[in-house]
C-alpha cells in the first residue's frame, strides 16, 4: 500500500467524540478574503471578530480577542445553509426504524423537530461541505400540507435546534391519484374560511366565538405573515395560481422546485418570491418539468428572482451543495450570486439570523483552502455559533481502519 498515509486513528476518535467546548471565547480571524454576502461585498485582508456566537466586529481598529487566527489570505464565507432535506430525521433511508420524516397522519401541525437527532452520522458528514445550519423539511403524510420546517445547526449538540415551526410546507402539482385542482381549491378554501372566521370573531359575542383549532392557528399564522408558505410545485399554471393566492391573502410565499419558473420569471421577481431549486435538475422527469435546465438558476437570477440552491433527493449527499453552486456558475450564474444562493438567500427566505457576515449576525463561518465551489477545495476550519467544529466523520475512521497496516484483524484498529 504505497500511497497510504498512516493516521493516528486516536486523533480521529477524539474528533468524533465531538466538541464539548462551551466557554465563551473571542476569536479574531485576520488576513482573510471575507465574502460578506452583504452590500459590503468582498473585503480583502480583512478581520472578523466573534464572541458568544455572534460576529462582534469587522475590520476593527484594534484587534482584541482571546485567539487570533491568521487566514493567510484564504476565503472566509458565511456557513452554507442546507434546505428542504431530512437531515437528522433519517439515518438510513431504507431502515424504517431510523426514519422520522414522515407519518401517514401528519398534517399542517406536524413538528418533526421533536425527532431531530444531532448525533446522526449525516450531520458530521455534511460539515465536509461547509454546511453550518439547515432548514429541515419533513415529508408529511397523505395531507397536502406536509408539516412545518425547522432549523438546526450542525454542531451535533443536543441544543442544535434554532427555531421550529418556522414555515409551512405544501405539496402541489402533479398527483398520481386525483387532480391537482382539488389541492389548489382546498388551499384557497382554507384561507378564505380562516379570513371569514377572523371577521366573524369580531361580530360574535365571546360565548359563541370558538377558540381556533390548532390547524386553524397555523393558517392564521400564514395569513398574518408569521410563517412562510413553502410550496413545492413545478408547472407554470400551479406557480401562477399560487402567485394569485399570495396576492389575495398577502402571504409570504416560497417556491420549491419550480421547474417552469423560467417561463414566468418576471412575475415571480415582481412578487418577490424566492425559488428554492436543485441546480443540477435538468431532465424532463415529468410533464411538469419540461423546462428543467442547468441554466435555470442563472436565468432566474438574471431576471431578478432570488434563488436559493438545495440538494434535493437523498440527504446523505447534502455535503455537495457547494458543488451544485459550482455547476450553476459553470452554467452562467455569477460566483457572488452562487454564494448568496447557498447562504443569504436561504436565510432571507426562511427568516434566519445567519447567511451573511455582518456585525450582530450568528457566527457561522467557513474558512476554505481555496475557491469554495471547486472540487479540489476543502474546508480548512469552520465555526458554528462561534465555536470551531471538525469535519472529521465516521467515513474517515473507516478509511483509516482499512488503510492502516496491522497484523491483527481490522476490528482491532480503532
Amino acid at each position: 500500500m504505497k500511497h497510504f498515509k498512516l493516521f493516528k486513528s486516536s486523533l480521529i476518535a477524539l474528533a468524533l467524540a465531538s466538541s464539548t467546548a462551551s466557554y465563551a471565547e473571542s476569536i479574531a480571524i485576520t488576513n482573510a478574503t471575507v465574502h460578506t454576502v452583504t452590500e459590503q461585498g468582498v473585503l480583502e485582508n480583512a478581520t472578523v471578530v466573534f464572541e458568544n456566537g455572534k460576529v462582534t466586529a469587522i475590520n476593527p481598529e484594534t484587534i482584541n480577542a482571546d485567539t487570533i487566527i491568521d487566514a493567510e489570505g484564504k476565503i472566509l464565507t458565511p456557513g452554507l445553509i442546507g434546505a428542504m432535506n431530512q437531515l437528522g430525521l433519517v439515518e438510513v433511508s431504507a431502515v424504517s426504524r431510523s426514519r422520522d420524516a414522515s407519518d401517514k397522519k401528519a398534517d399542517i401541525t406536524f413538528d418533526a423537530s421533536l425527532a431531530f437527532n444531532p448525533r446522526s452520522t449525516v450531520v458530521l458528514h455534511s460539515r465536509k461541505g461547509g454546511i453550518t445550519s439547515n432548514v429541515v423539511s419533513p415529508r408529511g403524510g397523505e395531507d397536502m400540507f406536509k408539516g412545518q420546517t425547522f432549523v438546526a445547526d450542525l454542531s451535533g449538540e443536543f441544543d442544535s435546534i434554532r427555531v421550529n415551526n418556522n414555515s409551512v410546507l405544501i405539496d402541489l402539482g402533479a398527483k398520481s391519484e386525483g387532480s391537482r385542482a382539488l389541492s389548489l381549491q382546498n388551499l384557497q378554501f382554507k384561507l378564505e374560511d380562516a379570513v371569514k372566521a377572523q371577521e366573524n370573531k369580531g361580530t360574535k359575542n365571546k360565548k359563541e366565538a370558538k377558540e381556533p383549532s390548532r390547524e386553524e392557528q397555523v393558517i392564521n399564522a400564514l395569513l398574518a405573515g408569521d410563517k412562510a408558505l413553502v410550496a413545492h410545485a413545478d408547472r407554470a399554471t400551479d406557480l401562477l395560481a399560487l402567485l394569485k393566492i399570495k396576492q389575495q391573502f398577502g402571504l409570504d410565499l416560497v417556491f420549491v422546485g419550480a421547474a417552469d419558473a423560467v417561463l414566468i420569471a418576471d412575475k415571480i421577481a415582481q412578487a418577490k418570491v424566492t425559488v428554492v431549486m436543485n441546480a443540477l435538475d435538468n431532465l424532463p422527469t415529468s410533464f411538469d418539468t419540461l423546462h428543467s435546465s442547468l441554466k435555470n438558476a442563472a436565468k432566474l437570477t438574471n431576471a431578478g428572482v432570488k434563488v436559493a440552491l438545495s440538494v434535493s433527493g437523498d440527504t446523505h449527499k447534502l455535503y455537495e451543495l457547494r458543488f451544485h453552486a459550482g455547476n450553476a456558475i459553470a452554467n452562467g450564474l455569477s460566483a457572488d450570486d452562487a454564494l448568496a444562493a447557498v447562504t443569504a438567500n436561504v436565510a432571507q427566505a426562511f427568516n434566519l439570523d445567519s447567511g451573511t457576515i455582518a456585525v450582530g449576525k450568528t457566527a457561522d463561518l467557513v474558512l476554505w483552502s481555496a475557491d469554495p465551489f471547486e472540487l479540489s477545495t476543502q474546508v480548512s476550519q469552520m465555526w458554528i455559533n462561534g465555536e470551531e467544529y471538525s469535519t472529521i466523520s465516521r467515513q474517515d475512521a473507516l478509511r483509516d481502519r482499512y488503510t492502516t497496516s496491522s497484523d491483527m484483524p481490522r476490528s482491532y484498529v480503532k
Binding site: M1, K2, H3, F4, K5, E91, V92, S93, A94, V95, T121, V122, H125, L280, D281, N282, L283, P284, T285, S286, F287, T289, L290, D314, T315, H316, K317, Y319, E320, F323, G326, N327, I329, A330, F373, E374, L375, S376, Q378, Q395, D396, L398, R399, Y402, T403, R410
Partner: protein, 460 residues
C-alpha cells in the same frame, strides 16, 4: 428460429457424400444464433480531424502537454506534436484538454427514461428472482432525453443494465451514445453482453415480501447456486449434442431455454458478469461462487465496501465500479468512504471504475472521478489527472470487454474523443466537442451538433 452454420452444414454433407463413415442420417444441426438483434450502428458523417495544442490525457496513464491528436477514418491515427495533416479539419485546442470518450458501465437510460412515467418503467422484470431470459436492449427507448444530456457530458459509450431486484436481472447491452430511432442503431457492434446479478438487500426484500425465495442472504446464495447448477447441466447437454453430432450421430437437440442460454453464455465465457454488490463479505462469496461454477465473477457494481477487500479484487482480476460519495440510503451502503475508488486503484493489477447509475451524474462522471481524486490526495494518495481519467475510460472499457476498441487514445483505436474547456476534473469543466468513431456528435457552440429527442420536439 433455428439457424445453421453453413460450414458445419457443408461438412456434414461432405461426410454423407463420401460415405466413408458408418453414420446415421443426420437432421440439420441445431445451432443457436447468438446475435439475433444485430447492431445497425454506423458512424455519423466524419471528416479527418486534427486537434492542435491541447493537454491530452490518453487513458493509458499518460499526460501530454501541447499535443496534437489526428483522427482519420474514425480511428486515432496519430498523437504527438506538430502533426501536419493536409485537408484535415483543424481545431485549435490551446488551453483545452482532451480525453478519451467517457464510458459509463452502469446506466439505466432508455429503460428507466425521462419522463419517468408508469408507461416507461421498463428497467426491471420484477416477476421472478431469476430473469436471465430478459434482455435490457428490448426495453430501450432511444428517445430518452437522458442520452442527449449524457452526450453533453462527454459520454460516448454506456452499458444499459436491468435493475437489481432479481438475483439474475437479465442481459445488459452496450450502446454508442449516438442518436438513433432504433436500439440497434445505437448498439455497440460486437460488444459482449453483460449479465446483471444482484447481491444483498434488493432481491431478498422484493421476493421475501412475496414469501418466495430469497428472503435472506443465504437464500440469495442458494438461488444463484441452483441456477448455475441448472446452467451447468444445460451446457453439458449442448456439449453432448455437439459432440454426438460431430461424431456422426443424429442426436436430439436439447430443448431450447432462453433463460439458460444466457447463463450458459456466461459459462462459455461469452457474457460478462456485472454484479450489483455492496458489501465486502458478499463480494468475497461471489468470487468463490464464480470459482465453484467455473466462470469469472466479473465487475462488482456499487461496491461501497470494495476498499475492505481491495487486495482480493485485484488478485482475482475483478473490476469494481463505484460512486465517489453515495451512501446511507440502505444499510449495505452505510460504510462509504470517499477514497474507495482510490484504495481499490492503488493495488497492483487493479481495475477501479467510476460509474453513475444515475441519469444525473452520468452527465458529470468527470466530476465524480475528480471528487475521488481530490479527497484521496487530501489523505495521503497521489492521484494524478492522467490516472483518474482511467476510472471513466480505459478501466470502464476493460470492464465491458472493450479494452481493445475504446477507452484510450492510441493509434488504431476508435476515435472516441472529448474536448474539454479546461481540466476535466474542475467543477467548471464542460465538454465542448464530442466525437464517436471520429464523427462529431456534439458541439456546445454549434446547434447543428445538438441533437434533440423526439419527446422534447415541439414542446412549449
Amino acid at each position: 428460429m433455428q439457424k445453421f452454420l453453413p460450414s458445419l452444414v457443408s461438412a456434414a454433407l461432405a461426410v454423407a457424400l463420401t460415405g466413408c463413415l458408418q453414420s446415421e442420417q443426420q437432421n440439420e444441426r441445431v445451432v443457436i444464433n447468438k446475435n439475433p438483434y444485430p447492431s445497425t450502428y454506423k458512424a455519423l458523417p466524419l471528416q479527418t480531424t486534427l486537434i492542435k495544442n491541447a493537454t491530452v490525457l490518453t487513458g493509458t496513464g499518460s499526460r501530454l502537454d501541447n499535443a496534437d491528436v489526428l483522427m482519420v477514418d474514425g480511428k486515432i491515427n496519430q498523437i504527438g506534436t506538430d502533426i501536419v495533416a493536409e485537408g484535415a479539419v483543424e481545431i485549435d485546442a490551446n488551453g483545452k484538454w482532451i480525453t478519451p470518450g467517457i464510458i459509463d458501465v452502469h446506466s439505466h437510460l432508455g429503460v428507466y427514461p425521462n419522463p419517468s412515467v408508469e408507461s416507461h418503467a421498463d428497467g426491471n422484470e420484477m416477476t421472478s428472482p431469476n430473469t436471465s431470459e430478459v434482455w435490457a436492449e428490448h426495453s430501450v427507448w432511444p428517445q430518452d432525453p437522458g442520452f442527449e444530456a449524457a452526450r453533453e457530458g462527454g459520454i460516448t459509450t454506456l452499458q444499459i443494465l436491468p435493475g437489481s431486484a432479481n438475483l439474475f436481472g437479465g442481459r445488459g447491452v452496450t450502446l454508442r451514445n449516438v442518436p438513433s430511432h432504433t436500439m440497434q442503431g445505437m448498439k455497440f457492434p460486437d460488444a459482449p453482453y453483460g449479465l446483471k446479478m444482484a447481491c444483498g438487500e434488493n432481491p431478498k426484500r422484493v421476493y421475501g415480501s412475496r414469501k418466495v425465495l430469497p428472503s435472506t442472504r443465504m437464500g440469495n446464495m442458494a438461488g444463484y447456486r441452483m441456477a448455475w447448477a441448472d446452467a451447468t447441466e444445460y451446457k453439458r447437454a449442448w456439449e453432448k449434442y455437439d459432440a454426438d453430432y460431430d461424431a456422426g450421430k443424429n442426436p436430439l437437440a436439447p430443448e431450447r431455454d432462453i433463460e439458460l442460454d444466457t447463463l450458459k453464455g456466461v459459462l462459455d465465457g461469452d457474457i460478462l458478469i456485472h454484479n450489483h454488490c455492496y458489501k465486502a463479505e458478499e463480494m468475497a462469496m461471489m468470487i468463490d461462487l464464480g470459482k465453484e461454477f467455473n466462470y469469472h465473477s466479473g465487475t462488482f457494481h456499487h461496491a461501497v465496501e470494495a476498499y475492505k477487500i481491495a487486495d482480493m479484487l485485484a488478485e482475482n482480476g475483478n473490476c469494481a465500479a463505484m460512486w465517489p460519495d453515495w451512501w446511507g440510503f440502505k444499510m449495505e451502503a452505510y460504510d462509504m468512504v470517499h477514497e474507495n475508488v482510490a484504495i481499490v486503484d492503488a493495488m497492483k493489477n487493479s481495475c477501479a471504475v467510476v460509474h453513475s447509475d444515475s441519469d444525473s451524474t452520468i452527465q458529470r462522471l468527470n466530476q465524480e472521478a475528480g471528487k475521488v481524486m481530490y479527497r484521496a490526495n487530501e489523505n495521503g494518495f497521489e492521484v494524478t489527472p492522467e490516472l483518474a481519467i482511467t476510472w471513466i475510460t480505459a478501466n470502464a472499457a476493460k470492464s465491458l470487454g472493450l479494452a481493445d476498441e475504446t477507452g484510450s487514445l492510441e493509434n488504431g483505436k476508435k476515435a472516441d474523443v472529448v474536448i474539454w474547456n479546461q481540466n476535466p476534473f474542475s467543477v467548471y469543466a464542460q465538454a465542448e466537442q464530442v466525437f464517436v468513431d471520429g464523427a462529431k456528435v456534439y458541439d456546445r457552440f454549434d446547434e447543428k451538433y445538438q441533437a434533440k429527442s423526439d419527446f422534447l420536439l415541439g414542446q412549449r
